[in-house]
Amino acid sequence: MRKFKEKLSGRVFFALAFSSISALALITVFILIKGLPIIGKIGLSEFFGMTWAPVSQNKFGIFPMIVGTVSVTLGAALIGVPIGICCSIFLAEYAPAAVRNIFRPAIQLLAGIPSVVYGFWGLIFIVPLIREYLGGPGLSILAGAIILAIMILPTVISISEVSLLSLPRQYKEGALALGMTHWQTIKSVLLPSAKSGIVAAVILGIGRAVGETMAVILVLGNAPALPASLKDSVRTLTTNIGIEMGYASGDHQEALFATGIVLFIIIMILNSTAQYVTRKKH
């Protein structure tokens, strides 16, 4: 009887674990089936073309959206990564326990705020600021980048902090024992030693930014055209799907699934790079 229970429990866990993997497989297959035909139909050059006019001209070029995703994500990384890494250094190396105990849960809370709330806050706070001080409509790459920078902070901070904290204590002691200052120790020994973890943190943060939809829908303006400056409106790959899926049909709907394939590939590349970097040891 006991043996039977053992066997059964093993099978049950396997079935549950398998179901999560099969969800991934199902989604992948579904997106591919729905999205690939349209790419075959219009060809890669039109699919990666300049014009997205699904209803009026039957054109499905997603290049402006790729530019939108890349520009907003890059902007978010440029703002968010330095702040995030500095914050993780502060928490791991400088903050007294009392401060750390306030900061850590606060940063986790930041991760728990629904993305629509970020978007809404950006719309009523960041967008008017940009409109007033920099001109333009305010709905812009810059607004999206700022919102996403805040949203990727928890990922960047917590993973960087963990990789700093998991270094052997002997590294720090060894460096200090050589007469290096605390900052020299951080800069020349701890950060290089934690490099792989920090790079992974940055990549996962970027992955988060690429995939974010709701927050950026509200602040980007969503014009499916090439931007000329940071103050211009753009549309990202995710918002393209989010905005149009509700009413799209036929080729149009398939083109949105095809957009999903592109997103999927980008995220897969980012995540596997992060995994590769963390696994690679000296």
């Binding site: 326990a97 052997p168 002997q170 590294y171 720090k172 002691e173 060894g174 460096a175 200090l176 024992a177 050589l178 007469g179 290096m180 200052t181 020299q184 020349s188 020994v189 290089p192 030693s193 000296h282």
Partner: protein, 265 residues
């Protein structure tokens, strides 16, 4: 045992004067007073948990890293107080180097491991750094072994060679005192022998202070021995301090005798 040394004539390098150390409310070291002589090897021996490492870390203020540590009394390096408010911990640690129990080679090249200290002291010229690397590696007899692979990761070396690399790294900063915290305990007998030979060689130039569990090692390398034990209130005390030859042939204190004859510890 190096009987030929006339210890009392030597200059005092480190003077410990009624030092007490507390970890929060825990009184870890009590009333430690003794002098460590220049260019000699002093061994701190005693049972586990008696405060040997804590005492060793008093001399490069490594205990400062632990929150809630408090030191009373004073320690002098060449007559200069270490725990004075004006004392500079960074320059102290450049004068008092340390080698740890386990080799703590940084995850970078052999060359970078050695010159990381000098680099942060402002030595930038490549030729100067190469000279320092060569001299330091020669001093630990590692140069011939690694001179063609200075770019390789320090972690690729054997544990014994890693520990010698750590000693070379400490030497590269040009210290006057070297603290060794059970630096052979993680090594095989052959590597241990090499490090012991190295200690004897280095003692011609440097003041060396070692913590060791290995009584034979203390006998083999040290000039002076300091025996520590915790008292009934769990405070680490210095029980006896004498030339090693004297302590091991004719211990003055009953507790020292019990320990070195292996009756406990």
């Amino acid at each position: 045992m190096r009987d030929n040394l006339k210890i009392p004539r030597r200059k005092v390098k480190l003077k410990t004067d009624a030092a007490d150390l507390y970890y929060g409310s825990h009184h870890a070291l009590g009333g430690i007073t003794f002098d460590i002589y220049e260019r000699s090897i002093t061994a701190i021996i005693g049972p586990s948990g008696c405060g040997k490492s804590t005492l060793l870390r008093l001399y490069n203020r490594m205990n400062d890293l632990i929150p809630g540590v408090r030191v009373e009394g004073e320690v002098y390096l060449d007559g200069v107080p270490l725990y004075d408010r004006a004392a500079d911990v960074v320059s102290l640690r450049q004068k008092v180097g340390m080698v740890f129990q386990k080799p703590n080679v940084f995850p970078m090249s052999i060359f970078d491991n050695i010159v990381i200290g000098p680099r942060h002291q402002g030595i930038r010229k490549k030729r100067d750094l190469e000279e320092i690397a060569r001299k330091s590696l020669e001093a630990v007899s590692l140069w011939d072994e690694v001179k063609d692979e200075l770019k390789k990761s320090g972690l690729s070396l054997s544990p014994g060679a890693q520990q010698r690399l750590c000693i070379a790294r400490a030497l590269a900063v040009a210290p006057e005192v070297i603290l060794m915290d059970e630096s052979c305990s993680a090594l095989d007998p052959e590597s241990t022998m090499k490090i012991e030979e190295l200690m004897l060689e280095l003692a011609k130039k440097y003041t060396i202070l070692i913590v060791t569990h290995n009584m034979e090692q203390a006998v083999r390398v040290s000039d002076m021995s300091a025996f520590m034990m915790i008292d009934e209130r769990k405070i680490g005390r210095l029980v006896e301090y004498a030339p090693t030859s004297e302590m091991f042939s004719n211990p003055k204190d009953k507790r020292t005798e019990d320990y070195i004859t292996g009756r406990f510890g």
